[in-house]
């Protein structure tokens, strides 16, 4: 069965390491924060200028001057720092963030990503996504494997305007965990109950299937 949004977040959370500074994009990436293992310290960077994003405020502590990059009201954890947008993107561009998780419309076998524009539909703008994919060494893209019409989002070449060229090495879809190497997707793990054949049929770009493709393992939800 395809992973739920929560399961996708849970799988991504397995890639976290103690002491990681992490930038989580809007949508499924945001949910990753709910699955940080309890014996692990992770600090969340929000590109509007906050390192050490905390949970949402209460009705009493809500503050218009304290938001995240998704414009939601948030709090800061103990030990947080707050700075300008130039400083924030100095961190990001300079490669100081250990892991970036973001959504996408398409990814291709060259590691290119399209996530910000669908021509002739609304253009909302790239926000910080282009900086994030250019600045990070370690990026996980989360998205559904195929569109609702069944069209693959894992392509030979992205069809939409790019967010970044050749910068993505890891993709988690609702069907699989894949890594991008030498112009191909390597199928590393299957969602529980999903067959290699289904993944193959929904992957337009070159897919390499190793002899053994284990099912994803999930710890008990905490």
């Amino acid at each position: 069965m395809a992973l739920t949004r929560e399961q996708m977040a849970q799988r991504v959370a397995q890639e976290l390491k103690d002491g990681f500074y992490v930038n989580l994009g809007i949508g499924i990436p945001t949910l990753v924060a709910n699955y940080i293992p309890q014996d692990m310290a992770v600090m969340l960077q929000s590109e509007n200028g906050l390192l050490g994003m905390g949970e949402f405020p209460t009705g009493e502590t809500i503050d218009a001057d304290m938001i995240n990059a998704g414009k939601q009201t948030v709090t800061a954890v103990k030990g947080a720092s707050i700075f300008s947008s130039a400083e924030s993107f100095a961190m990001i561009r300079g490669g100081h963030v250990d892991l970036t998780v973001l959504g996408a419309f398409e990814v291709d076998v060259q590691g290119s990503i399209a996530s910000w524009m669908i021509p002739n539909k609304l253009v909302k703008g790239m926000g910080g996504a282009m900086d994030l994919v250019a600045g990070a060494d370690n990026i996980i893209v989360t998205m559904t494997h195929a569109s609702k019409n069944g069209e693959s989002k894992l392509l030979d070449t992205c069809s939409l305007p790019l967010t970044g060229k050749g910068c993505i090495k890891k993709v988690l879809t609702d069907l699989a965990w894949l890594e991008i190497e030498d112009g191909a997707f390597i199928l590393k793990e299957r969602a529980p109950g999903v067959t290699v054949e289904e993944i193959q049929s929904k992957t337009q770009g070159k897919l390499i299937v190793p002899d053994n493709v284990p099912e994803m393992q999930f710890a008990q939800a905490s």
Binding site: D65, T73, S88, G125, M126, G135, L162, T163, G164
Partner: protein, 232 residues
Amino acid sequence: MAGFDKVVSTYEEAMQGLEDGMTILAGGFGLCGIPENLIAEIQRKGTTGLTIVSNNCGVDGFGLGLLLEKKQVKKMISSYVGENALFEKQLLDGELEVELTPQGTLAEKMRAGGAGIPAFYTATGVGTPVAEGKEVRVFAGREYLLEEAITGEFAIVKGWKADRYGNVIYRHTAQNFNPLAATAGKITVVEVEEIVDVGELEPSQIHTPGIYVDRVVLGTFEKRIEKRTIKE
């Protein structure tokens, strides 16, 4: 002697000299830390043909959205323009030019503008539509784009506290683009919640030194929240 006293008493004085066709750099991210009263004053003034450099463009009926309503804006230089139906309409109708710029590049362009750096290289945007017409250059085996600095005739900034010399501090994440815009305006106007005595701000803790600031005005702020999110 006037000395370094930057305080003006009205919003009209604060925006004096703004003319049709000028470029304005605005602080703020979403609706957080926007110079809401300075924007309202520009709306009241009715100046048109403006180029606005701001990460976002407010929402319908608030923030920079007000200037869209009155068709005062010719061009927006922004990273993200969602959350604004009127914006979308003017864009599709061809009434509004938009130069979409990655957020980090936008921040750095303002900083560069204030810092006398005419241009810099960044990997952001290589191989994307942002790279169109820009020089690509390789440093240490990696491709980078040449991006040029941005300055404006005016910068409009929202601070938390300022002294009369124009030294400013910002509150929480309302800092965002404000200190960058402040450095790159030919005339930099800062509206604040509180004017404190000179000497009250700790010198090492000032976010925007007064040298960048031309006018300070005291305001009251609605501080509208775009996405009110509380713990369940």
